[in-house]
């Protein structure tokens, strides 16, 4: 076992990126993710990397576009309103099929909203956010060790599929401290970046062009078909979820990110009371872990989705459960973090009412 280091979430994500070989970070300040660019501003010079505090979020994402196009591992981070500003660039990066990692430490919205944790950016993350038919791989860690591991994986996934990957955290994960361990893991063989615009001499004189503009509709449709084929491969191969205590569960709570760890405490409490409750925790929000749900749907009698939102992921849960079982929802908004007792009370009410 390696050394356990006590770190803040934002800093742990930064260090994980550096350990993954990220050498370009472009950011712009916004709470509650400020420790991440701050950490990068300190660390990047130590590893011969580049840190730029850009003039805006839009500039930062377009710098990522440039660095990724040149074949570098590049990252940006922000929080909800700042991520909204980046959407144009994210769509371009997805359209140009470039690998990049984007971190959203979500706060309550809409608008400027507040600075406390939220999960109201789910739709934006998994359904589009920017324009056009594109998908981001979206990974939602529930603790800091997982955040570290998923950042490592995010860079590999991005390179492997030539696709931007979004780490969807929230203010709670960004601000809290937990011990983390940086493991050297090699997840998959990665293809050489033969497409990178890093000089003719690196490609035997072949000219590489990176572009997201395709004016010929037939050409653009072909490009879209290729993208959709890639997304289908990702849906097939990259679903990820944690299933806890669902074997005999009457009710499964569905929650992601920090809400999931709070729900886990509720599950422990409810199990001590003798209630048969489990947890499904989507780790990949896109692709949504349909296969994991399929294991649980036949035996579980009902689902309760819990989010720090008005109900966003619950739509994907309903699509997946497809009417087979009732899907309930409980949410808090505006930066209010639900307590385990609140979630437990919802479960008791549902199970009590079912008798």
């Amino acid at each position: 076992m390696g050394e356990r280091i006590l770190m803040k979430g934002n800093e742990a994500i930064g260090e994980a990126a550096i350990k993954a070989g990220c050498r370009f970070f472009f950011g712009y300040p916004i709470t509650p993710q400020n420790e991440l660019p701050e950490y990068m501003s300190r660390r990047m010079p130590q590893v011969d990397g580049t840190f730029v505090q850009a003039e805006s979020e839009i500039a930062a994402i377009n710098m990522v576009y440039g660095a990724a196009g040149a074949g570098a591992r590049a990252m940006t981070s922000s929080s909800s309103p700042g991520i909204s500003l980046k959407q144009e660039g994210i769509s371009y990066i997805a359209g140009a099929e470039l690998p990049a990692v984007i971190v959203n430490i979500v706060r309550g919205g809409p608008g400027l909203g507040g600075i406390q944790p939220g999960q109201g950016d789910y739709f934006q993350s998994v359904k589009g956010g920017g324009h056009g038919d594109y998908r981001l791989i979206v990974l939602a860690p529930a603790n800091l060790q997982e955040a570290v591991d998923l950042v490592t994986e995010a860079f590999d996934l991005a390179d492997y599929y030539r696709n931007p990957v979004l780490i969807l955290g929230d203010g709670l994960l960004g601000q809290m401290m937990e011990p983390v361990e940086f493991k050297a893991t090699k997840l998959r063989e990665l293809p050489a970046k033969e497409w990178a615009t890093n000089g003719l001499r690196n490609h035997g004189g072949k000219t590489n062009i990176i572009n997201s503009l395709v004016l010929d509709p037939h050409g653009l449709e072909e490009h879209n078909i290729r993208l959709q084929e890639k997304y289908a491969r990702i849906v097939e191969a990259e679903q990820k979820a944690e299933i806890v205590d669902c074997d005999d569960a009457e009710l499964a709570i569905v929650a992601y990110g920090s809400t999931a760890r709070i729900a886990k405490t509720a599950v422990t409490q409810l199990r001590q009371e003798g209630l048969k409750v489990g947890l499904i925790r989507p780790i990949s929000l896109w692709p949504f872990p349909v296969k994991d749900f399929e294991k649980v749907i036949p035996t579980v009698k009902s689902f309760l989705t819990v989010e720090m939102s008005a109900g966003q992921m619950v739509e994907d849960v309903r699509l997946t459960v497809n009417g087979c079982k009732p899907v309930y929802f409980y949410g808090r908004m505006g930066g209010i973090v639900p307590a385990p007792e609140e979630i437990a009370a919802q479960v008791r009410e549902i199970l009590g009412g079912a008798k």
């Binding site: 006590l6 709670l172 809290m176 937990e178 405490t265 422990t268 385990p340």
Partner: protein, 178 residues
């Protein structure tokens, strides 16, 4: 679960650091730990607080609505967090700055004149360490050697000379809890 504690005070009373020390010490003791700050405008002027969990099992919710222990460094913190302490838990309050008695009768109440003791030691800034000492004595959550290791880690290289003072402050806090 070994301990979950909310520590609260004015910004500047060293509440966050106190929490981080306990967290780090728990990690040194090979426990599962988490530290969660209340962040935002609360830090300036009002009450700053953090929640620390030291546990044998992986930490689920870092949010605690009924902590086993509360450390209140000032009156607004006592007002806010006294009602939350779990029955049978412990409420440690800074009697140097808090001149009302807590009203709870179902928790262990420990009054620590932290500012006076820190002043006797020659540095009012170690009032937080006095309170931490009291918490350690009341809960036995982490070992003394782990706290010492955490302090060494927390103090920058050119401030290691403050180690004996901080340890003394922790010891004084401990002595007040029988």
């Amino acid at each position: 679960m070994i301990l979950d504690v909310i520590m609260a005070g004015f910004g500047g009373q060293g509440v966050m650091l106190m929490g981080q020390l306990l967290t780090y010490a728990g990690m040194v003791d090979n426990k599962q730990v988490s530290w969660m700050p209340a962040y935002g405008p609360e830090m300036r002027g009002g009450t700053a607080n953090c929640t620390v969990i030291v546990s044998d099992a992986p930490v689920g919710s870092p949010v605690v609505s009924e902590p086993k222990a509360v450390i209140a460094m000032n009156l607004p913190s006592l007002d806010k967090f006294e009602p939350l302490v779990k029955p049978g838990g412990v409420l440690i309050y800074n009697s140097s700055l808090i001149h009302r008695a807590p009203t709870r009768t179902d928790v262990r109440l420990i009054a620590i004149p932290a500012n006076e003791i820190a002043a006797e030691l020659g540095n009012t800034r170690v009032a937080n360490m006095v309170m931490l000492g009291a918490l350690l004595a009341a809960t036995e959550a982490v070992s003394t050697s782990a706290v010492e290791a955490a302090l060494k880690k927390a103090l920058p290289a050119h401030r290691q000379d403050l180690l004996p003072l901080n340890l003394e402050a922790i010891a004084r806090g401990r002595e007040l809890v029988k």
